[in-house]
């Protein structure tokens, strides 16, 4: 896939198009494609103001690759003065008083924010059906979900309503919708990108990552948002720039085939992915079968840790300072209870209850402590694997996109379907989802490449080599 960012950056540079014109074009597309419900809000006036600033920046000779390029923002990333509701009724009307670090960085680069992308409520879900603004629809086939929780961001990129979008990934929320919608999604190493301004779900797992239409674009956006942040103590100075080192050379790259990842995968998906090992071999990479033990325990550990952290992180939504407040109450306790009962959706309540339970006295050791030990084991298994290979090639999800309304009836199955993505979050690793083909119904199949901590340049380069060689055509959105 050709890089849209590079294309527009050069058009802007050569003054063949202005940022205002480009932004208007994208605003038009966003409007024309409302049926996908990819954006929950678009502020055209604000976008054009940013575009105007970008044109001035370009005129002043201070253009960056992202100057004047319109993008979408998942509804859980704080922008000063812009309603950021996590697609939850409880945050209705909440306008942050500050910008997330990633937003600050992109603003400084001259990027043009279009609006907020749809998501599962508080990023809890794999289908973008649980938010208060309704389900997002998969632009490839609107009978199917976009995946989630960053489904609005994935759909916006797939339907070209935004050049790229920022999502967040706690257990696969960037990679799985990217896979379902046929776009690229990067989940950076925990600590590569500042979380300041990302409304927390599972704080020890959350990372912001880009959804793009090409690997090069993912690298460009990643480079722009990465880096240590003094406002986020969990951010790290160890990440490094990826785009400048991307040459598509994978000669002698050691790619692991972890057999545990291919168990319980729909044959159409696993066959498509297994075929890609041969392609990598043709490009000069070496394939090695490898075992990542403990993998099956990563999923329950993930749900325990994520829900435990969520139960604490979401305690602050009490109707006192911002967002929704129940109107019918006699005292402050009743106000808080009613606000939360009325403000949170079913899935969020389910996870708050799970998390509260596993942290309760008497259960803490049996669940939370044990989950932390599993986390250590899984991380160690990955460390061992990356002593032997550079990259692991795996599925992103066991299936392609689910039909609409399937998830709510099949909760456990949906939880289980995260088993390919959550181990990466548990271990804090970087991983990318790239389009690798289509199933019989024409739904996209994603391929996941996982790397050691802070090896974003390596996995991006491998994905870039694959993208060039495989040349999977994008589906035209009707």
């Amino acid at each position: 896939m050709q890089s849209k960012i590079l294309k527009y950056a050069s058009l802007l540079k050569e003054k063949k198009i202005s940022a205002v014109e480009l932004t208007k074009e994208y605003l038009k597309k966003a409007d024309a494609n409302r049926r996908f419900n990819a954006f929950v809000s678009v502020d055209g006036e604000r976008a054009l103001k940013y575009a105007d600033l970008a044109d001035k920046q370009i005129a002043a000779g201070k253009q960056t690759l992202l100057t004047g390029i319109p993008f979408g923002i998942k509804a859980n990333i704080a922008e000063k003065g812009v309603e950021t509701d996590c697609c939850s009724k409880i945050l209705k009307g909440y306008r942050p008083t500050y910008d997330a670090t990633v937003i600050e960085k992109l603003s400084a680069a001259g990027a043009v924010p279009l609006g907020k992308n749809n998501m599962d409520e508080f990023a809890m879900g794999s289908s973008t059906e649980t938010g208060c603004h309704g389900a997002a629809l998969n632009p490839v086939n609107t009978d199917y979900v976009t995946g989630g929780s960053s489904g609005g961001a994935a759909a916006a990129v797939a339907a070209d309503m935004a050049v790229y979008a920022l999502g967040s990934d706690t257990g696969g929320s960037v990679r799985q919708p990217a896979s379902f919608c046929g776009v690229v999604g990067l989940k950076p190493t925990y600590g590569s990108v500042s979380r300041y301004g990302l409304i927390a779900y599972g704080s020890s797992l959350d990372q912001i990552g880009p959804l793009t239409s090409s690997v090069a674009d993912a690298a460009i956006v990643y480079d722009a948002i990465r880096g240590a942040d003094k406002r986020d103590q969990t951010s790290s100075p160890l990440s490094s720039a990826a785009f400048e080192r991307m040459d598509g050379d994978v000669k002698n790259l050691k790619i692991g085939f972890p057999k545990e990842y291919f168990e319980g995968i729909k044959p159409e998906v696993s066959d498509t992915l297994k075929a890609q090992f041969a392609l990598f071999e043709k490009l000069g990479a070496r394939i090695e079968e490898i075992s990542v033990p403990w993998l099956k325990y990563a999923l329950p550990a993930y749900y325990i840790i994520a829900c435990a952290e969520a139960s604490s992180n979401l305690g602050r939504y009490d109707g006192i300072r911002y967002g929704y407040r129940s109107t019918d109450y006699d005292d402050v306790n009743e106000m808080i209870m009613k606000t939360r009962s009325e403000g949170f959706g079913k899935e969020v309540k389910r996870r708050i209850m799970l998390g509260t339970y596993v942290l309760s006295a008497g259960y803490f050791d049996a669940y939370y402590k044990k989950a932390l030990r599993v986390r250590e084991q899984v991380s160690e298994a990955f460390r061992d694997a990356f002593e032997k290979v550079d990259v692991l090639l795996t599925p992103v999800a066991p299936t392609t996109a689910f039909p609409l309304n399937y998830t709510s009836e099949n909760m456990i199955e949906t939880y289980m379907s995260d088993f390919c993505t959550v181990p990466v979050n548990i271990a804090g690793l970087p991983a990318i989802s790239v389009p690798a083909g289509y199933d019989g119904k024409g739904l996209p199949i994603g391929m996941q490449l996982i790397g050691a901590k802070f090896s974003e340049p390596t996995i991006l380069n491998a994905a870039y080599a694959f993208e060039r060689a495989a040349a999977i055509p994008a589906k035209e959105v009707k």
Binding site: S204, D232, R316, I320, L359
Partner: protein
């Protein structure tokens, strides 16, 4: 005292006097307009993250070292989850598993050591303001750094409890981490108290929350001790519960029972990574630590002042520092007399003594003391000059006339004494005849001649010497 033994352990919250809050850059200054010292972090806005203030860690380590604790090489923050409108995140960032300092003790005057369980760091909550039927929340205090000093149940009387708290105050003030003002809330105590018969296990304890003055604490503990003794005497049981002291009725009353106790669901704070504290870092803090009050008192005693004087001088950090500076060059006894006498008389309240705002430095007082001990001025002039300095600052020389200084000529004094003896035969005779009082007349003669500038003690000695011959 009843037949029951008194057992208490204290949890003491001490507000650290850092300029900024524990997890953000907001000011900790007391008394500002509501919600003006706030930001996304200390109001818990979604997406904001805490960043630990290194100074808070340094102060907490200092407190740990000053109470002989073991500083943890890895210390971690935990979340304590509970819902209250003044707690904007619905959790308090505190320490549970790996507190900054473990163990240690506070020594009482009797030599008894009250052992500490640990010291941990945490953030304060905001404050509810009730006005006109509405309740408002002020988050200025939210995120102000605290340490909680948790003692073992080693306290055996109300008096020991009071002394323990006073000792803690003294230590924390001397090491400069807190002003420990109970009435302003920068020091608050929760007490766990139980009673039992000698030779039997500890009784069921109750917890009395948030005592904000020493006298209330004493009253509350005395009341609670007799309440528990009475219960046992009448065959009833003490119920494990949290109680509060009612200032109006001077009794304690139940707040909540054990069954209603909250499950705080502590778990490691994922937003703050474990803090590794190196030996070098601890050593550096140890080196920079001011002298502890106990040590200071010993060094004062070694200079020959009394126990009472030493205690009074050590009681106020700034006074102790001022005195330490004075005695490097000047006589310790005279310096103590002047500070505890003239200077303290100019300060009415404890508060003023604590602040010790005087208009001159230790060097000026040293100069004044030296003038006296070198015999250049007498104690009367010294007092007068000190009064002037207390009023208007400056140095002794600003207030001494040539005349003042002339009085100190020893040969002149001796001459005048001889003159007095020869001019007052009658008085001399009376004195030699055993009337001690008669010496006053001779003394009066000399003092009159010097217009009060001579050192009366020296004159008296001289006269006695002359009359012996």
């Amino acid at each position: 005292m009843s037949k029951y033994l008194f057992v208490a352990g204290l949890e003491t919250h001490v507000e650290l006097q850092t300029d900024s809050k524990i997890f953000c850059g907001c000011s900790t200054k007391f008394g500002a307009e509501p919600n003006t010292h706030t930001c996304p972090v200390c109001t818990g806005e979604p997406g904001s993250l805490p960043v630990i203030n290194k100074k808070v860690l340094c102060y907490a380590i200092r407190a740990g070292l000053a109470t002989h604790g073991k500083i943890s090489s890895v210390t971690t923050m935990d979340r304590k989850n509970y819902v209250y409108p003044d707690l904007p995140k619905a959790y308090q960032i505190s320490q549970f598993e790996n507190p900054v300092s473990v163990g240690g003790y506070v020594e009482l005057d009797s030599g008894k050591r009250i052992r500490l369980n640990h010291i941990h760091m945490e953030e304060d909550a905001g404050k509810l303001v009730h006005e006109g039927g509405y309740t408002y929340v002020d988050y200025n205090r939210g995120g102000v750094p605290l340490i909680e000093i948790v003692s073992e149940p080693d306290i055996a009387s109300v008096e020991e409890a009071r002394e323990y708290v006073e000792k803690l105050q003294l230590i924390m003030r001397h090491i400069g981490v807190s002003d420990c003002k109970m009435q302003e809330g920068s020091m608050r105590c929760d007490v766990n108290i139980s009673v039992h018969l000698p030779g039997t296990p500890f009784g069921t304890r109750t917890e009395i929350k948030n005592m904000n003055s020493l006298s209330f604490m004493e009253k509350a503990l005395s009341y609670e001790y007799s309440r528990q003794c009475d219960l046992l005497d009448s065959g009833e049981k003490v119920v494990q519960e949290t109680r509060r002291y009612n200032e109006g009725t001077q009794t304690t009353e139940s707040m909540r029972s054990k069954e209603d106790a909250q499950d705080y669901r502590y778990f490691p704070e994922p937003d703050i990574l474990a803090i590794h504290v190196s030996d070098e870092f601890i050593e550096k803090i140890r080196q920079e630590m001011p002298v502890l009050p106990g040590e200071l008192k010993r060094s004062f005693l070694a200079k020959g002042i009394t126990e009472v004087e030493a205690d009074r001088l050590v009681q106020y950090k700034r006074v102790a520092d001022f005195y330490s500076e004075c005695i490097e060059k000047a006589d310790a006894k005279i310096a103590a007399n002047l500070i505890l006498g003239e200077i303290f008389r100019s300060m009415q309240t404890e508060e003023e003594k604590e602040l010790f705002e005087i208009k001159f430095g230790a060097d000026a007082l040293i100069e004044l003391i030296l003038l006296r001990s070198e015999g250049k001025i007498n104690s009367g002039i010294q007092k007068r000059v000190l009064q002037e300095m207390l009023l208007s600052g400056g140095r002794p020389s600003d207030y001494l006339t040539k005349d003042d200084l002339s009085s100190v000529d020893d040969s002149a004094v001796e001459g005048l004494c001889r003159e007095a003896v020869s001019a007052n035969e009658r008085a001399v005779k009376d004195y030699l005849g055993g009337k001690e009082q008669a010496l006053k007349a001779l003394l009066g003669y000399v003092m009159k001649a010097t217009r009060g500038k001579a050192d009366s003690a020296a004159v008296e000695a001289k006269l006695k010497e002359l009359l012996k011959k």
